[in-house]
């Protein structure tokens, strides 16, 4: 596993409910208990705080290196890039934000897809990366996720999706909203082919991604402390003035309310996923 090229998370303005950017603090400072880590220490610990168990964000390529058996990953659709159909311009042009994100993250988009094996079980991976414009879903993310579904069907192997997203990418306007039904239809095609999808919800899984493919897993696990909400706490409070429960929107609350199958800390994830893949391999049809 190689350490990530850049561990700082660019929250930008895309995601309104992510934890506040670390500001002056060193990015490897645990926001929960204040412990400091060197990059290599944190990487070796799967970006989990050794003191308190806080799960730091994990980059897509790091997660793939970790999940996939050594050398087994073959990336797909790496050339798919976002376009700018609305010539969108807010405080800065969308095109400029895209270029900057690519430069900062070394990624072409907020999701990486490809074929791999996990503990010798062949699997299709679709892993989101929050550092690319808050993991927001535009046309390119929707297209790449859909292609992952098709590739899983073609290979006849399960799809393992890891979500981390602030929602739809509003710079693509209504087309970003259309990525919801687009990815939903892709999952339904997957299910018609009787291919399972396992979803791992990482921090944060919100808005348009939660309201589409992320919620359609046959089995859904969440990382501890991950925010999993359609509407984040700030907007809920501003809109309704309701008093929010302490664990509002967190994985733990979602588990209690029946929305995820299990909360699995990173150290146990690979074994958990391997067991699931083994089980899905044992059907009679």
């Amino acid at each position: 596993m190689t350490p990530p090229p850049e561990t700082r998370i660019d929250v930008q303005v895309e995601h309104k409910d992510a934890p506040a950017p670390a500001g002056k603090k060193h990015p490897n400072t645990c926001p929960k208990c204040g412990s400091h880590y060197r990059d290599d220490e944190l990487a070796a610990a799967l970006w989990v705080c050794g003191q308190c168990g806080h799960h730091f964000p994990m980059r897509a390529r790091d997660r793939i290196s970790w999940y996939a058996d050594a050398g087994s990953f073959t990336e797909e659709a790496a050339d798919v890039r976002s376009d700018d159909p609305l010539a969108f311009f807010d405080l800065r042009p969308y095109a400029e934000r895209l270029s900057e994100a690519e430069l900062n993250t070394g990624l072409g988009e907020a999701i990486v897809i490809g074929q791999a094996s996990l503990d010798a079980h062949p699997v299709e991976l679709a892993v989101m990366d929050f550092s690319f414009m808050g993991g927001s879903m535009g046309s390119a993310v929707g297209e790449k996720f859909s292609r992952a579904c098709d590739s899983a069907i073609e290979q006849g192997v399960p799809l393992l999706a890891v979500t981390s997203s602030g929602g739809a990418r509003m710079q693509e306007g209504i087309l970003s909203l259309m990525q919801l039904p687009k990815t939903v239809c892709a999952v339904e095609d997957l299910h018609d082919a009787r291919i399972p999808m396992i979803v791992v919800m990482a921090h944060p899984t919100t808005a348009g991604v939660l309201a589409s493919f992320a919620s359609l897993g046959d089995v859904t696990i969440a990382e501890p402390g991950a925010l999993i909400a359609f509407t984040g706490p700030r907007v809920v409070q501003q809109t309704t003035r309701e008093k929010l429960p302490d664990d509002f929107g967190l994985a733990e609350q979602n588990f209690r309310f029946g929305h995820v199958d299990e909360i699995v800390p990173r150290p146990g994830q690979r074994e958990h996923l391997s067991r699931l893949l083994r089980l899905f391999d044992g059907g009679q049809r």
Partner: protein
């Protein structure tokens, strides 16, 4: 694209559309000229004001709501209540009715007309229970082969604590999934605000229509402005940037047709707005009814899977 290119592009699309069976009724009812006028208006449409006018009309307090249309376009109507699990969500009404001799199942967001009703119906913002109710009637439509019609008019799904706890995201996802599985003809029409996930939850249809002054968007103009401009007051600027109006949605391939409104907008003449909506719904069903169910589903999924622009 220059403005000129844009106009040419749209003219081509509109003229193409007028040849579609979908718009047969439009021609018959003299809507072709209306589309021409829309096109004329488009030239001025690059102004913030023109798009903002649509936003205002889409949210106009006198605009007809789902039940206003139901009373005018359906001959028989029995409202079906409840999600069979937890609640009856007044923000999303469902029922079975008769449209031009055809039994249809209908679901639509419902805003309130007076203060009390607005609160009761949460301003048309549904809880997960509303989407569960919609899924229940979709299954009813599927079981008996009734076409499914949805009327979309919501600022978005309800952003509350209980709504989150009850699984708002999952409900919206599953409602779309349910629609993508149906083998009966499905038609959606955005009749006011098509706000984000709460709207698309019931709009994964074979034919997605929009009224002339409706809007369809990933976020409210105010929400977008607050995030991108850091100032909710910049809503007009945001709307102009993300272009939620019907013509741009048509241009982007997101909708299949535009339903004309009375000259001053649907709020000015409910009866005429209903007549135009009814004609468009009937035309869409006429067009769809010959297509086998499996083929409908295949085409519907292919259409949505083709949405988006990327390099």
């Amino acid at each position: 694209m220059t403005e000129r290119d844009q106009e040419v592009n749209l003219r081509r699309r509109l003229s193409g559309l007028s040849r579609l069976p979908l718009l047969r009724g439009a021609r018959l009812n003299g809507e072709a000229e209306r589309l021409e006028r829309q096109l004329e208006r488009l030239k001025a449409d690059t102004s913030d004001e023109a798009i903002w006018h649509s936003v205002e009309l889409a949210r106009h307090q006198d605009r007809p709501y789902t039940l206003d249309y139901v009373g005018r376009i359906l001959d028989d109507w029995v409202e079906l209540h409840g999600d069979r699990g937890r609640a009856d969500d007044g923000a999303l009404v469902t029922g079975i009715g008769s449209l031009d001799g055809r039994t249809v199942v209908l679901a639509g967001h419902q805003k309130g007309r007076d203060v009390k009703e607005r609160l009761d119906r949460q301003f048309g913002m549904a809880y997960p229970e509303g989407y569960h109710k919609a899924m229940r009637v979709m299954e009813l439509a599927e079981r008996f082969g009734f076409p499914f019609i949805s009327l979309v008019d919501t600022p978005g799904a309800y952003p509350g604590v209980a709504a989150e706890q009850h699984g708002q995201g999952g409900a919206i996802a599953r409602s779309q999934a349910e629609m993508s599985r149906l083998t009966v003809p499905t038609v959606a029409c955005i009749i006011g605000e098509g706000g984000s996930g709460g709207a698309v939850a019931i709009a994964v249809a074979d034919r997605v229509l929009m009224q002339e002054n409706a809007i369809y968007s990933v976020i409210t103009p105010e929400g977008c402005a607050a995030i991108l401009w850091r100032d909710a007051g910049e809503a007009k600027k945001a709307a102009a940037a993300f272009k939620p109006d019907a013509l741009h949605c048509l241009d982007l391939g997101v909708i299949d047709g535009i339903v004309a409104e009375p000259e001053q907008g649907a709020q000015a003449d409910h009866a005429e707005a209903a007549r135009l909506l009814k004609a468009a719904l009937v035309d869409a069903l006429d067009y769809l009814e010959g297509i086998p169910g499996e083929e409908l589903r295949r085409r519907r999924r292919a259409k949505f899977r083709g949405m988006g622009v990327y390099a």
